[in-house]
């Protein structure tokens, strides 16, 4: 008997009653047995192994692992190493958002995907690592050998900017728009897959679909996260995390872009629904480009720091495309003793979280409609795994 499905799915049960989704039940995913897999391995070996399991957010996972191990060892990587990790993480966010906006989004709404743009952006992002170092050398606790090529990196960034502006934003920096009316005008031009998607979503009923009163993750007390992940009942926390006050939070692009004027105005109109969540990804493309531009000058040629053969406990965080990610590690004499992970999906797909709250009460005449709504809500909150949806009648 296999008790752990490696690909992991989230099981969703919808209960229909009088034309509405009366109840939404989620079964948290089983946690992968990371401790068993990593125990006894050297910390640097573990940092290279782990990302193989997470191909959709490989960079963010690597960064969280490196941060956790460094904290446990009491070492700080040189600033250039942190800058390299930031640039790579931001680039991965662009890659993921671009894929959602050109493939998943259109497909979920019966529109044609823009395969060419998705391919161009993904290919361009894949070319980044060799401009910063050789052979993934950056993946080392304490930092690895960096050999950045400043001119090529500047050209790379300009080309990325061009790809986003032309392929996704139809020639207009959407993040510079001030009013929802301007956004509607831009979307009506239908000049790109995200424009067509938003045109479809910026309609009464659909724009606000999936909104709920779930709070957005801003500052999170890392001391509390550390304490909960260190506790003996850490698994129940990692499967269904809440704040110390017992609140569910939404993490991801909407939570990060919530201060943007367009998001605030959309929220006033229709809440934090489909339109706001998709728009947040588009806005984040522009903000992420700026982040990369600011971090690139900090990349310097150099090595990391030496690592002590030590023990200790560490918490590492990374802002993945899907939201905040934490790794927790306990090392003994430089080897993994315990390894724990808290993924963004568990916040958003908490049994009482944003996914569930936003679906509850939605009008759905039949099982097919209810499933389609759950899939749309899934797209908006972007789990890193598939949803297995089952509909029953009360």
């Amino acid at each position: 008997m296999i008790s752990f499905a490696p690909e992991g799915v989230i099981q969703v049960q919808l209960v229909l009653e009088r034309g509405r989704i009366a109840a939404v039940r989620l079964r948290p995913r089983p946690l992968p047995p990371l401790k068993a897999l990593l125990k006894g391995r050297q910390a640097d070996q573990a940092a290279r192994m782990l990302p193989r399991l997470f191909s959709l957010c490989r960079i963010a996972q690597t960064c969280a692992a490196l941060n956790a191990i460094e904290q446990a060892l009491g070492v700080a990587p040189p600033p250039a190493q942190s800058a390299a990790r930031l640039v790579l993480t931001l680039a991965e966010t662009i890659q993921e958002h671009a894929t959602r906006l050109t493939l998943d989004g259109p497909l979920a709404f019966g529109q044609a995907p823009d395969v060419e743009t998705a391919k161009a952006v993904r290919r361009h992002i894949a070319a980044l690592v060799p401009l910063i170092c050789k052979n993934d050398d950056w993946v080392r606790p304490g930092g690895g050998r960096l050999s950045p090529r400043p001119n090529d990196l500047a050209d790379w960034l300009e080309e990325l900017r061009r790809l986003i502006l032309s392929g996704l934003m139809a020639g207009r920096d959407v993040s510079a728009l001030l009013e929802v009316k301007d956004l509607r005008d831009w979307a009506q031009g239908q000049g790109s897959a995200p424009a067509r998607l938003l045109q479809a979503l910026l309609k009464p009923g659909l724009a606000g679909f999936g909104a709920s009163a779930t709070g957005l993750m801003g500052h999170l007390d890392s001391g509390q996260v550390m304490a909960r992940l260190a506790a003996s009942d850490w698994e129940s926390y990692a499967q269904a995390p809440q704040t110390a006050a017992g609140l569910c939070l939404e993490t991801g692009p909407l939570a990060r872009q919530n201060d943007h004027r367009l998001i605030r105005t959309l929220e006033a109109e229709s809440g934090h629904g489909l339109a706001a969540r998709i728009l947040a990804r588009l806005l984040e493309l522009a903000q992420t480009l700026t982040g990369i531009a600011l971090a690139l000058p900090l990349l310097m040629e150099g090595e990391g720091v030496d690592l002590p053969v030590a023990g200790g406990v560490g918490l590492g965080a990374a802002e993945a495309a899907r939201g905040r990610l934490f790794h927790w590690v306990r090392l003994d004499a430089g080897r993994i003793e315990e390894y724990r992970l808290l993924a963004p999906t568990e916040w958003n797909f908490h049994p009482e979280g944003a996914f569930v709250q936003g679906l509850k009460g939605a009008e759905a005449a039949d099982a097919e409609t209810a499933s389609a709504l759950a899939r749309r809500q899934g797209l908006a909150l972007d789990p890193c795994v598939g949803l297995e949806i089952e509909v029953s009648h009360a």
Partner: protein, 76 residues
């Protein structure tokens, strides 16, 4: 956790379509995002599209890791 297992391309079809195999299950997907795909390549599949191609060495290491984790999960 964004666990994604590599799937092996077993048949190329017209219009960038292909059949991949994962854990004994076959599925038709699109290879439109992949450069120069071939039978035997390992790819990461998402919403019916192969998103990326792994080099054979990396694919072998990744599959071994999943197999190890699956065995550990089963005995846990």
């Amino acid at each position: 956790m964004c666990l994604a297992m590599p799937a092996r391309v077993v048949e190329l079809r017209d219009d960038d379509q292909a059949v991949v195999e994962l854990d004994g299950v076959r599925k038709e997907i699109s290879l439109a995002l992949i450069d120069a795909p071939g039978v035997g390549d390992y790819v990461i599949v998402h919403v019916g599209y192969a998103l990326s191609k792994l080099d054979p060495d990396e694919a072998a290491k990744t599959l071994a890791l999943f197999a190890e984790m699956q065995a550990l999960g089963a005995s846990a």
